[in-house]
């Protein structure tokens, strides 16, 4: 059971300003059904350029609905310049706080507001577009968006970033990349709290190398494939050639080759040795689990 504030419960059970403003000046739509929450915000300005009316429609959990409701309340009567200054923190504070894991709802509110203002400024033509490069493919979160939540909320861990933006909360495959973004934005602020990734060793014996490859597959690669119902098995190591087989969903996946070159090889090079390259054991993929033969 989530610990929700009384104000949040009030806005969930009695949401304000539900619906769509007729002939809106700005429309902001963010999120999707697949992601689990989505928000459509519409507003109309009065003669003085202040937000006269704002309404929302939201698909999502109680905190997503309550966040949307308070957002409409907060921006009414504001000029667009004032409204643009509303941060996700302001929204969460106005609600009397949100559980950490639900902070992404406040970020969604802020994003919808920005999208609506952007839409107005482009004369109603512009739809919200993602800025930057997608880092988290599960939830479609870009590097720019991640940088921004880190900066605005002073985040220092991957877990925080997931709570605030959902990024990294699906398959977990992008967590390394998120870590790098945190490092880039926060520099020296990062405390030791971060779990250190296994350090790449210097010179390795063959046995050490094979063990490190197996460990990297177990800890760094398999969890990501798992999330999509796939799996990977280490078949053999021949010099710098690492032979692996993909199982489950991965074996039939159209993206298998892409996954393999990009994820597996990159991870193995990062954690074991730059010289490594990966090959797929073709026949063993067709005859799975024949690993003893």
């Amino acid at each position: 059971m989530w610990e929700y504030s009384d104000k949040l419960k009030d806005h969930f059970f009695n949401p304000r300003n539900v619906g769509e403003v007729e002939n809106p000046d700005g429309v902001g739509e963010v999120g999707s059904l697949a992601c689990g929450d989505a928000l459509k915000l519409t507003f109309r300005l009065d003669a003085n350029g202040r937000i006269q009316d704002a309404k929302f429609k939201t698909f999502g959990c109680a905190s997503a609905i309550a966040t949307s409701s308070v957002l409409t309340e907060m921006i009414k009567g504001k000029t667009l310049e004032q409204a643009a200054k509303v941060t996700n923190r302001d929204i969460a504070d106005y609600l009397g706080g949100l559980p950490e894991q639900k902070m992404h709802c406040s970020v969604m509110g802020r994003e919808a507001l920005e999208a609506a203002i952007e839409n107005y400024r482009s004369g109603g033509k512009k739809k919200h577009e993602l800025e930057g490069n997608i880092v988290c493919t599960c939830f479609g979160v870009t590097d720019k968006e991640i940088e921004r939540v880190i900066r605005e909320n002073d985040l220092t861990t991957v877990e925080d970033v997931t709570n605030y933006s959902k990024a990294g909360g699906g398959c977990g495959g992008c967590q390394g990349e998120i870590e790098k973004i945190i490092e880039k934005v926060q520099h020296d602020k990062i405390k030791q709290a971060r779990t250190p990734a296994p350090r790449r060793a210097g010179k390795l014996t063959n046995i050490q190398k094979i063990q490190l490859i197996q460990q990297t597959i177990n800890e760094q690669i398999r969890p990501a494939l798992r999330a999509d119902g796939g799996n990977i098995e280490l078949i053999d190591v021949d010099g710098d050639k690492v032979i692996v087989a993909f199982r489950g969903m991965c074996a039939q996946c159209r993206l298998a080759e892409f996954t393999m070159r990009d994820v597996v090889e990159a991870k193995l090079r990062e954690f074991v040795s730059e010289q490594l390259y990966v090959e797929e054991a073709k026949e063993s993929a067709e005859q799975p689990h024949n690993h003893r033969g």
């Binding site: 989530w2 969930f12 059970f13 949401p15 539900v18 739509e29 059904l33 697949a34 689990g36 929450d37 989505a38 928000l39 459509k40 429609k57 939201t58 698909f59 999502g60 959990c61 109680a62 997503a64 609905i65 599960c138 939830f139 997931t162 959902k166 909360g169 699906g170 177990n218 398999r222 798992r226 999330a227 119902g229 799996n231 098995e233 199982r247 489950g248 799975p288 689990h289 690993h291 003893r292």
Partner: protein, 385 residues
């Protein structure tokens, strides 16, 4: 406010009769059954009675019952114990829809060099037995497949599976935590090697369960220490819990008929009314091959946690497979394995009934749900009407 408890697959109300049976074991008969004196020794009788009652419900011999701390311990013991007893075989087969107690234990095995195969299910949550047959080979040590799914109630053909598996020399374990007490079992006639059950799912106390170990099934103990449970599970017995479980099993045997008639009738009434009254709703899981008490319904375009909180306001307890309630950001692994689209998975609600539910409660819920669904749909940007 009244509480309407439709979350019996999570846990159940403990029967008053069970409590009565347990009471003397706390402050009066508190001895240790392993003691030499009469005071402690008499407790052994209590445990023996409980063991016989459990065996009667399962249709097996009392010596095949090992008491544990619950479903999770039974599952872990079964998986790790069976593998330890068959060191030359390195493959484990399970399904993608297992309870985390099985799934996490199996996935951990990969770190120790085991090959773990997770069978998929079809859109209605059913297994393809030919796929299972193709996977079983002479390297397979263990097959672990649940009796009935906790989220959808879908039941697997456990007897057929047990025959397939044991024919190859592998051990077959089934997590029957949701099935025991809801459907009749007769393990004497079956080829199931290991079976897990948990007391608190059948109106018994929390923190006690059973691993059924068929005579002749080789298994290494998981908990080491004293000689309790014939050396199969060390640790001083949870005597009140075991006695409570025994009573719960006795009651379950008496109520099995009701479970499959009255409870099923209530479940069907609730389910049919909701599918009829709420547009864009769908049933998750096969309609027939199912536990009599469980229904899992998706209400499209709205989100499960919001539905649960609205139900909660009326005192109605249910659960959801939505991302927001699973503690992660992704919806239920069971619904995803069934290929339930995201639009529906996020809005899935499970109602699980028990013999303590009344028709009045069902009618009350039928009266409230359509209004809740309608209200949330009015908020949803994906509903244009």
């Amino acid at each position: 406010m009244r509480t309407v408890y439709f979350d019996n697959n999570a846990t159940t109300k403990m029967a008053e009769e069970v409590l009565e049976e347990m009471k003397p074991l706390f402050c009066e008969l508190y001895g240790n059954p392993s003691s030499m004196h009469t005071f402690g020794g008499q407790i052994g009788r209590e445990i023996r009675t409980a063991r016989e009652r459990v065996a009667a419900l399962l249709g097996c011999d009392p010596s095949e019952i090992v008491f544990t701390s619950g479903g999770t311990e039974s599952d872990n013991t079964a998986i790790k114990g069976a593998l330890a007893a068959a060191p030359n075989r390195r493959k484990v087969i399970t399904t993608r829809v297992e309870h985390p107690a099985v799934l996490a234990a199996c996935r951990d095995l990969e770190n120790y060099g085991y090959t773990v195969v997770e069978l998929g299910v079809d859109k209605q949550g059913r297994l393809d037995l030919t796929e299972l047959q193709d996977e079983i080979d002479d390297d397979t040590a263990l097959v672990t497949i649940m009796y009935a799914n906790n989220e959808t109630g879908v039941m697997f053909p456990i007897e057929k599976i047990a025959e397939l598996v044991t024919g190859s020399g592998a051990v077959f374990h089934t997590d029957a935590v949701q099935a025991v007490g809801k459907i009749p079992l007769n393990l004497t006639k079956s080829r199931v090697g290991l079976l897990s059950l948990s007391a608190h799912k059948l109106h018994g106390p929390k923190g006690v369960g059973v691993l059924y170990v068929r005579k002749g099934t080789r298994i290494s103990p998981f908990m080491l220490g004293g000689h309790q449970e014939a050396g199969r599970r060390a640790g001083t017995e949870n005597v009140p819990g075991i006695v409570g479980l025994g009573k719960a099993c006795e009651l379950a045997a008496e109520n099995l008929e009701e479970e499959n008639s009255r409870v099923k009738y209530l479940r069907d009434k609730l389910e049919n009314a909701m599918l009829k009254e709420c547009p864009d709703s769908r049933l998750n899981g096969h309609k027939e091959d199912r536990l009599p008490n469980t229904t899992n319904i998706s209400f499209e375009y709205i989100e499960g946690e919001a539905i649960l909180l609205m139900l909660d306001k009326y005192g109605i307890c249910a659960s959801s497979g939505s991302a927001c309630t699973s503690g992660s950001l992704e919806p239920s692994h069971v619904l995803r394995a069934m290929g339930v689209p995201f639009t529906a998975a996020h809005g899935s609600i499970r109602f699980s009934l028990s013999r303590y539910n009344t028709e009045q409660e069902v009618d009350y819920t039928i009266e409230k749900v359509p209004g809740i669904i309608n209200h949330l749909r009015k908020l949803s940007p994906f509903v244009t009407k």
